[in-house]
């Protein structure tokens, strides 16, 4: 509640970015008779909305927080507290993004339901529990993935290029610019089996295949969570031993 400006900015950004893309896709689908690659516009619209709504959680910003802590030396202040540094940063990120996420998602969902309607895939009984599961998985995976990027600051002076590459991979394979339903087969496989795509599986939940594939996708998410969690913990252990900020 301390950041009303940020809430307005996030809602505006969601409307601007997602809205412009939805208008463009609406026109493209209209030119093609309402269906592209066997997928109707309403599905694509909700898939893209899920991507942008998820992005208002700003879990990716954990990279920048860790980078700034390391570069400014502030990491040593947090190392002095009786909490795990990574745990602190993760909960901080969730806490600061949750409110704008809830507000933007609720308002956006109502607006989208009124404008394009609700696809039948979202009315099936399995939708709500699985979307919840995959949302939790996507949040954990995003936090871990971006934490790894942030932790690189302990070894690399300038982490921004790595952040940029990972972030763009997540955006593209997550289906922000082009919904995954419209991907060519090899790109779709990449979106399915890479951690970048897996961190955005919420965008898959509105597709027809979801009802037969959800357990596979959640399995992929769990696999990446485990692999990257181990990597993060190893990196963090090494990083703690590497701290030498401003020691004189």
């Amino acid at each position: 509640m301390q950041y009303p400006g940020r809430l307005i900015a996030d809602t505006f950004a969601l409307v601007a970015r997602c809205g412009v893309l939805l208008i463009l896709y609406w026109y493209v689908f209209k030119l093609n008779g309402g269906i592209v690659n066997g997928t109707p516009y309403i599905i694509v619209a909700w898939s893209m909305f899920f991507y942008f709504a998820f992005s208002t959680l700003r879990l990716r910003d954990i990279s920048k927080s860790i980078m700034q802590d390391v570069q400014s030396g502030n990491v040593e202040v947090l190392f002095n507290k009786p909490v795990s540094y990574l745990g602190y940063r993760i909960w901080w990120q969730i806490g600061s993004g949750l409110y704008p996420f809830v507000v933007a998602t609720v308002l956006g969902s109502i607006a989208l339901a009124l404008i394009v309607g609700i696809p039948h895939t979202m009315t099936v009984g399995i939708f709500l529990p699985t979307v919840f599961l995959v949302f939790i998985g996507a949040s954990i995976l995003s936090l871990i993935l971006y934490s790894i990027v942030g932790l690189l600051a302990f070894w690399i002076e300038e982490v921004n290029p790595v952040f940029w590459m990972v972030d763009k991979a997540v955006m593209i394979l997550g289906g922000s610019y082009l919904p995954v339903a419209l991907f060519p087969p090899f790109m779709y496989k990449l979106a399915l089996y890479s951690p970048f795509g897996a961190s955005q599986f919420v965008t898959h939940t509105v597709y027809e295949q979801w009802h037969s594939e959800w357990y596979l996708l959640i399995g992929i998410q769990i696999f990446w969570i485990l692999v990257l969690l181990i990597t993060t913990l190893i990196m963090f252990k090494r990083a703690k031993e590497k701290v030498s900020v401003n020691a004189g």
């Binding site: 030396g73 040593e76 190392f79 009786p82 909490v83 020691a247 004189g248």
Partner: protein
Amino acid sequence: MTKSIIISNLSKKFTFPVKSASSGWIKNLFSPEIKEIVAVDNISFSVAKGERIAFIGPNGAGKSTTIKMLTGILFPTSGSVNILGFDPTKDRKKLAYQIGTVFGQRSQLLPNLPLTDSLEFFGVMYDMPSKQIEKRISELTELFDLGSFIDQPVRKLSLGQRMRAEVAASLIHKPKIILLDEPTIGLDVVAKKALRDLLLKINEEEGTTIFLTSHDVGDIESLCNRTIIINHGTVIKDLPTEDLAKTFVFEKYIDLVPTTKFKDFADLPDGMKYSSKNQNFITVVVDIHKTSVKEAIKKLLDMFDVEDIDVYNADLETVIRHIYERDSTRQ
């Protein structure tokens, strides 16, 4: 007396790759030359409960490295640290409940939130019940006079207010030891005095052990009852602060004010040298091993037409500078 801190043969070495101009970029990339710096070199000392320690030394002496090893941020290369019975390398989190830290050049407060939220946040972090947090915040507000700005976002506080708030935040959980790394850096004289008075108060009222690094002689003189001087990673002096001033007691300073203006600055006799000289003022340093003060004054009065004269011991800043310089020339 109960020991709060026991440091035994503590050393810390840092290694880092350096680019060699004579090697190619492939060698520099994959097999660079490794340079080693000994930041702390086999130091040992202990601190009793309730002591106020000034841990001082020139830049790069090893002060901050030692403090960071005490808090568990840095791992020692060798030796051991025991704080309140804990080994910081193994029990960092448990130790964190018992100590408070203030880094003068870093902030632990949350910049966009009101100060009261930061204090509450840290209280929760230290697992304090909400009633206790509330009580402690009101205690600290009164003690540190935070009332006028406690509801302001931290980023809007002046440096003096922020430092008071930083110390208050580090005391939220009533730590047994507070480690301060240059807490008065950048503060004006009024804010410095206020902060020193507060630290003395918490030392007296709550028995908090104070371990402080500073380049400010005022901090050392007015706050600390013991001074440990470190240079090049080794402890070169460890003595009561009041004895520190006596270290160079063989040097006396004589200030001379001219009747009109000083014109000639003739060479001084053996045992005396100019510390500063200009037309309006001369300061002479006398080595009393070589010449007595009485003799020195006599000679100076013969040499200069003087209206006023003042004799005094070296101030603490000069003493500390001498200690640093003497140690540097010994290296």
